[in-house]
């Protein structure tokens, strides 16, 4: 298993243990082992490795919503481009909204998912400074949402199921976007998802940030990775508004009940996909595979429904959410 080099604040005990292991390993290499076994630290290293795995598993089994926010934003977490690489063959990217430009914060295209022809759309945040700028940190602009509408239109005409992968802090709060109808673009994208006559499955793989996320998540099934969140506002600005203090973000995250377990209880999401013990970033390949398996399972069921049945199921799904607790 690849050891993540970027540690989150709450991973301090894990980082300390792994530093100790590394130190002992170096010492072990530098020391000539004696016949009686002294001078070797293998036993200590083994014990420490077991301990670090236990601590990691325990920590990740008990993450509160705020810690899940941290994991969802982890820089080494698998991104949209990784899901495309791992799950889609014959990938053909389709760019542009045919009216203004292309938005690389929201990527889309056609391809095959385990043999089936599909349309795929998703948020890409970028990995390093250059790609983060290119992808605008995953924050969409109107032309991105209008591209999504265009691709959903195309999918509908050719009977292609739509698979979306959500990972965005939200739509981009910019001057030009507002002038080009950011709100309208998001609303139309949401509307298009809700009216599709083909199956749509949304998977929240990191941050599900507000309207910018909903725009590509108005689906028949909404799945979420175990350490992802889906919220109406990011905890920091939310706490700035309600508590007049950004430092209350952890409290805000927990109060908004944005962890997958709560979202499942409310009917906001339909299923939780488990992550490896140390989070998706500790084992991207197995995470991507698990996502693919769950999406395939859901698609197998939805593919049998007629366009009218799909629209009816989607309406029923979203109308049911408002009746929570009544």
């Amino acid at each position: 298993m690849a050891t993540p080099r970027h540690y989150l604040d709450f991973e301090r005990p894990i980082a300390d243990l792994e530093a100790k292991i590394e130190e002992l390993s170096k010492l072990s290499e530098a020391t000539e082992p004696q016949v009686d076994g002294s001078g070797s630290f293998d036993a200590e290293i083994d014990a420490l490795r077991k301990r670090v795995e236990a601590v990691r598993a325990d920590t990740y089994a008990n993450l509160d919503a705020w810690r899940k926010v941290q994991v969802a934003r982890h820089p080494e977490r698998p991104h949209f481009v990784d899901y495309i690489d791992g799950l889609i063959t014959d990938w053909q990217e389709l760019k542009g909204d045919r009216a203004f430009g292309d938005d690389q914060a929201l990527i889309g295209g056609m391809g095959r998912f385990r043999g089936r022809p599909v349309m795929v759309i998703g948020n890409e945040k970028g990995r390093d400074t250059a790609s983060r700028i290119k992808h605008n940190f995953g924050m969409g602009r109107p032309e991105g949402y209008r591209k999504a509408v265009r691709l959903m239109d195309l999918a509908d005409r050719f009977g292609l199921p739509v698979l979306s992968f959500v990972d965005t802090a939200g739509a981009f709060p910019g001057k030009e976007g507002e002038e080009r109808g950011q709100g309208e673009a998001i609303a139309r994208s949401t509307e298009r998802g809700l009216t599709l006559g083909v199956p749509m499955i949304a998977t929240i793989t990191g941050e599900g940030g507000s309207g910018g996320a909903l725009a590509i998540a108005a689906a028949n099934k909404v799945l979420i990775l175990e350490h992802s969140t889906y919220s109406v506002i990011s905890p920091e600005p939310g706490s700035a508004i309600l508590f007049r203090d950004r430092a209350q973000a952890p409290h805000m995250a927990n109060a908004m009940k944005i962890s997958p377990e709560d979202l499942l209880r409310f009917g906001v999401v339909d299923g939780i996909i488990s992550e490896p013990p140390g989070g998706a970033h500790s084992d991207p390949a197995s995470t991507i595979l698990a996502v693919g398996d769950t999406v395939e399972e859901e698609l197998d069921k939805l593919i049998k429904l007629s366009p009218d049945q799909l629209r009816a199921q989607r309406a029923e799904r979203f109308y049911a959410i408002g009746t929570v607790g009544q």
């Binding site: 109808g181 944005i258 979202l263 906001v268």
Partner: protein, 324 residues
Amino acid sequence: MTARDTPAPPAETPASTPVADKAAAGAADKASKPKSGWLSRLRPGLKQQASPRAQETPDDLWLKDPDTGELLYRPDLEAALWVTPSGHHMRLTPDQRFSITFDAGAFERIQAPSTKDDPLGFRDQKPYPHRLKAARETSGEVDAMSIAFGKIAGRNAVVLVQNFGFLGGSLGQAAGQGFIAATREAVRRDCPLVVFTASGGARMQEGTLSLMQMARATLAIQELKAVGLPYIVVLTDPTTGGVTASYAMLGDVQFAEPGALIAFTGPRVIEQTIRETLPPGFQRAEYLEDKGVVDRVTPRRDLAAALGNVIGILMDGRARIRAA
């Protein structure tokens, strides 16, 4: 304001607007007014929506123009449909809106089904149920959506008013349910739905459940579309946040009241993000009309007639399709 036989203004006028020099003070007020989001505008908004009981007190016979600071006589303002001499379109209560929209001010209120309060058990500086209780007492309304049925220019219409005076017109489960109820009432009565939007956005105290109302309202609009009924939006001050990213922007026709702030992200947040000053009038109705985001900025005095006209044309067109 012209001189006439009206009660004198209250003796103690606010220090910032001495009557003798109110024009200058008003100008100063306007100049120093920050370009800001809905939060800082909440206070004047709430003042305008004083409870009916408070309206009977003599002090309330005088109101201040939010733009110029000029003192205005309430009965005059009411006769001017709550538009000040400077053209400022003041925020309205649902009943005020219904009265000036429906023919002869006649309408029938429709109750939205109730939803569970406080689904998350949310508490910020105050418990959310306390905020709800206070808003209900002040407004006399159950939540931020008020529905009525009546005639506009002789045509049946269901009108939905989003009430900024109720927790900033925020969109939560009750408001979402109100929106759905209004669309279904329109379908049941086979008439158009006219929605007056005003909102600070999602009701954060209801978390992701408030976000879901954007999708639910969008679904409800499809029920109108399915039977070919018009869905008409009038954007009023302020319409922001998630509401702008859903039903507020999905109208078959989009009217806006003059001067209304219409934004997905408010100007303050944008300024903080891009660190530059925004152009004058940015995100105001006229600016957005110029950018092609709304069909027409329409003064309040012309709005009922414009709605009636559009409803007439669309419903006559629909009747021809149906007859064919």
